[in-house]
Amino acid sequence: MKSNKPFILFGLFSLFFVACKKDDPKAPVIPNEEEVITTLNFTLTPVGGGTPVEFKFKDLDGDGGNPPEISVGKLDTNTQYTGSVELLNELETPADDITIEVREEAEEHQFFFQSTASGLSVAYDDLDADGKPIGLTTTITTQGASTGTLTITLKHEPVKDASGVSMGDITNAGGETDIEVTFDVGIE
């Protein structure tokens, strides 16, 4: 007697597959992207009063193809400003303030300011618990008229005591770049 067992078993299993065809993949949970930084606002307030100058970089779609929105302000010659960096996640409403996170992990973060404009210099105004600079607050001094670019870089886990790093030289800093934005700057 020829055994039909194999065919019966096969039939049962294929029924199982066909029957379950109606389901859909689990709806993905849209994550709460806490780590995303969409916006960097660099505000320069003239020491002794005056209108603050704002440099803004906003990129809402992150890795996506839409270009970021960049806006700059004009700096005056021979002026001293207090610089302040603000980091936001504007995908959330109200916007999430990421500056707090960076301040809480001050030892693991440092901002670097590199400018090609000859009349611009930046000095650190804040320190972390180890006495090393962070860069959330700075003093910016301008001299004669010039134009160029200003690149603000945020390094995560830099080597703060490597040569030149605490003076604002990024060469030996290492670490990972969490932010790197470049603004056109004009001093007049």
Binding site: P25, P28, V29, I30, E33, D59, D61, G174
Partner: protein, 752 residues
């Protein structure tokens, strides 16, 4: 006096399983009686003064898989033992026999006894011993096999007959299989994928678990190794027993190593930890019905070089200019921190075989797989403990196969396969997923016919696959939305082959394979920053399927029993070949600039050959050399294909001593590997120029000893004897650090 009480003898001959030729210098041990003999030039042996009783007989020979069986001696006994002879020359596999599994395919195997001397290696690096097989690595702990230039989505890996489910698309995802759990690993280099579900365009890697055998006593093996580079240790234990009720086997492996070391410095955070287990049960219901239950569990943590985790293009440029990667420390450490991968893979397989007469065979299998992959990055605010990627894939597979041997040397094989894949991102990451959730149903059927006409074997086969794939992606633009796709795919393959045996010395085979491969989920829907190469990868949902035609031609010869030669030549055209292409665009984000890579299609051509020759200088000494060549060309854009393995030469000098004092099967080997610089690539196709060619020297020594019932094998191997500083084109870590320096591996295996 003893001779009178033990007047019996065991005699016989030892022969090669595939050729029937007698094997001399094979050791035959009667374990319980501590008696032994060695086969003479005619392959004959005689053991006298044997008492009546039950004994385990162990037969071993360098270059053969050792054998053991249990005999009851009540009178003079004569036996013939067939050994599977492999190690010396051509690593040929039983697939080529004109028997149950006739085939015209070219394949090479690694057997358990051989792999036991390489117990520190993972699956991909274990297979490097086979010519034509290379590895794509991300550091040494994470590696994928590359066969004839194809890997990942284009290579099917079968674990005990089940296509490995999981994120096989990732260039930095190792197949989650422990090679020590295998009895034999075979690479079918050609057009062999017809029988199996999967998207292979030809080559297949088959991992077969250890057989339980029919021994009524508890048997098994224990293995231990120590590795100097990484201060690694490994322990492996297998236990098996067969009785009237049930045959069972339990196998386990534990491995741990710390930071690996290049020629000059420690590779920080390259430690690995692994724990694997396999359980098997076998039950012969009667002469016709046999069932097997197989469970395996793979669990590992793989550290990724700390200095390879970087930010944007500026960081990448800085890293490329450094000789020593960032974060390198002078101190060695076992600890594994971010970035690292945590992988678990569990497989459960139920299999029943029904044999009708000796001509028909039905085979039904059901398998369930769970693959969990978590990848941890260096993150802000203590989030390094949250995975940046967390995927779970559950596959349910069913298969029914039928084999029939007909008259006039016809045989026929056919089958039906069903597979359900449920892939989801676990919501613990706080990051947009790189690949989406999806649910796929796959249906496939195949048929193959084989005919033997005197000395020629002919084969013809075809396969059809249908897939229904439902995908749920999340948009990049704000507000984030879920976009669903529901697509159906069809794929067809066909193959024809001929194998001709001219005489005992010469064999030739030719295969032609046509296959189509549907685009995979990562090729269609990838969307996001790929940390490993600081680049943005974007899939294309409109990609077409790949269509491939591959010719494989092989020739094997034996000249006067002194020179053995094997050549395999292949030519493959793949239309609509999907690959990741760097764009001219550099994308500006708040993190800086990133290069963009898009999945595109072109027409590719792969052309290559693998040649191996062995010269038997004397009975104890032989030389072996092999050379692999591959040329990958983009026909549409008239430029080379990127990430193709470069040409490769391997040579070895081997000396074998059947008996040396109390030791048997003593082997000594000096080997050399030369990897040529990949010159067949344009500078615009990569971040940096391919690294220079390099040569590595190695040593291997091993010896066996029989201590009553135990067979002990000890081995010592040295890799990169000269502590050469080098980088390999197929190792993604080459952008940041040198490859491995000197390594000394010592181990001991006990078979009981």
């Amino acid at each position: 006096m003893f001779a009178q009480q033990c007047p019996l003898s065991i005699s016989g001959s030892v022969k090669d399983m595939s050729t029937g030729i007698s094997i001399s210098n094979a050791h035959v041990f009667v374990k319980e009686a501590s008696l032994k003999d060695v086969t003479d030039s005619l392959g004959l042996f005689t053991i006298d003064a044997v008492c009546e009783g039950k004994y385990h007989l162990a037969i071993s020979h360098i270059g053969c898989e050792s054998q053991e069986f249990y005999l009851t001696i009540s009178g003079d006994t004569s036996i013939t033992v067939f050994l599977d002879h492999h190690g010396q020359l051509l690593n040929e596999v039983a697939l080529l026999d004109q028997g149950e599994n006739p085939s015209t395919q070219e394949s090479h195997s690694l057997h358990s006894d051989h792999m036991a001397k390489y117990s520190n290696k993972n699956l991909a690096t274990m297979l490097e011993d086979i010519s034509g097989v290379r590895t794509l690595k991300n550091g040494s702990g994470i590696a994928k096999p590359v066969v004839h230039g194809l890997y990942g989505n284009r290579l099917t890996i079968l674990n005990n007959g089940i296509a490995q489910g999981g994120q096989q698309w990732g260039a930095d995802h190792s197949p989650e299989i422990d090679p020590l759990l295998a009895n034999k690993i075979t690479v079918v280099k050609g057009v062999g994928a017809l029988e199996y579900m999967g998207n292979s365009l030809g080559s297949v890697v088959l991992i077969e678990p250890k057989k339980i055998g029919k021994e009524p006593h508890l048997h098994g093996e224990g293995r231990y190794f120590f590795e100097s580079n990484g201060l690694g240790n490994g322990l492996h234990l297998a236990l098996r027993q067969s009785n009237k009720m049930l045959a069972w086997q339990a196998v386990g492996t534990l491995k741990k190593n710390g930071d690996k070391r290049s020629a000059d410095y420690f590779l920080r955070n390259t430690g690995n930890e692994e724990a694997h287990l396999a359980l098997q049960m076998e039950k012969s219901w009667n002469k016709k019905w046999l069932s097997r239950l197989y469970f395996s569990s793979f669990n590992a943590n793989f550290g990724v070089l700390r200095g390879a985790h970087i930010g944007n293009t500026t960081d990448l440029k800085a890293a490329l200019e450094r000789d020593v990667p960032f974060y390198t420390k002078d101190k060695f450490s076992y600890s594994i921190g971010s970035p690292y991968q945590k992988v678990n893979h569990h497989l459960l397989k139920l299999h029943t075989k029904y044999t009708r007469g000796d001509k028909e065979l039905f085979d039904i299998s059901y398998a369930h797989q769970i693959n969990l992959r978590k990848e941890f990055d260096v993150r802000r605010s203590g989030r390094s403990d949250m995975p940046a990627m967390s995927l779970r894939q559950v596959s349910s597979f069913f298969e029914a196969k039928y084999r029939r041997v007909l008259s006039h040397h016809w045989s026929f094989k056919s089958g039906v396969q069903l597979n359900r894949v449920d892939n989801s991102n676990l919501p613990e990451t706080g990051i947009l997923p790189l690949i989406p959730n999806y649910l796929a149903y796959e249906y496939g059927a195949f048929g193959m016919a084989t005919k033997l006409i005197r000395k020629t074997t002919l084969q013809l086969g075809g396969r059809y696959d249908f897939e229904q794939r439902k995908v749920a992606t999340i948009t990049k633009t704000a507000p984030r939305e879920i976009v669903r796709y529901d697509k159906a795919y069809q794929a067809m393959s066909a193959m024809g082959g001929v194998k001709h045996v001219f005489n005992k010395a010469w064999k030739m085979s030719y295969n032609l394979g046509f296959a189509t491969r549907n685009p995979e989920v990562n090729e269609l829907y990838s969307n996001g920053l790929h940390q490993g190469v600081s680049g943005i990868e974007e899939g294309d949902p409109e990609l077409n399927k790949e269509v491939s035609l591959k010719h494989t031609w092989s020739l094997k010869g034996d000249i006067k029993g002194k020179l053995f030669f094997e050549g395999l030549f292949y030519f493959q055209n793949i239309d609509d070949y999907i690959f990741i292409n760097p764009q001219d665009e550099v994308r500006l984000t708040i993190r800086g600039a990133f290069p963009v890579f898009k999945y595109e299609q072109t027409d590719a051509r792969l052309l290559g050959f693998d040649v191996t020759a062995t010269y038997q200088a004397s009975e104890r000494m032989y030389f072996k050399g092999s050379y692999s060549y591959l040329d990958g060309y983009d026909r549409r854009n008239k430029m080379p294909l990127v990430y193709m393995p470069s040409n490769h030469f391997k040579g070895s000098f081997n000396y074998q001593i059947p008996s040396l004092g109390k030791f048997y099967n003593v082997e000594f080997q000096v080997n050399s590997r030369y990897v040529f610089k990949q010159k067949n690539v344009l500078l615009s196709q990569d971040f940096v120029a391919p690294p220079e060619g390099y040569q590595l020297l190695g040593l291997k020594m091993s010896a066996e000893r029989q201590l009553r019932k135990l067979r002990l094998t000890t081995f010592i191997r040295a890799e990169n004897l000269g502590n050469v500083k080098y980088r390999d084109y197929l190792n993604r870590q080459r952008y940041f650090a040198d490859d491995l320096g000197f390594n000394l591996i010592a181990g001991m295996n006990i078979n009981f």
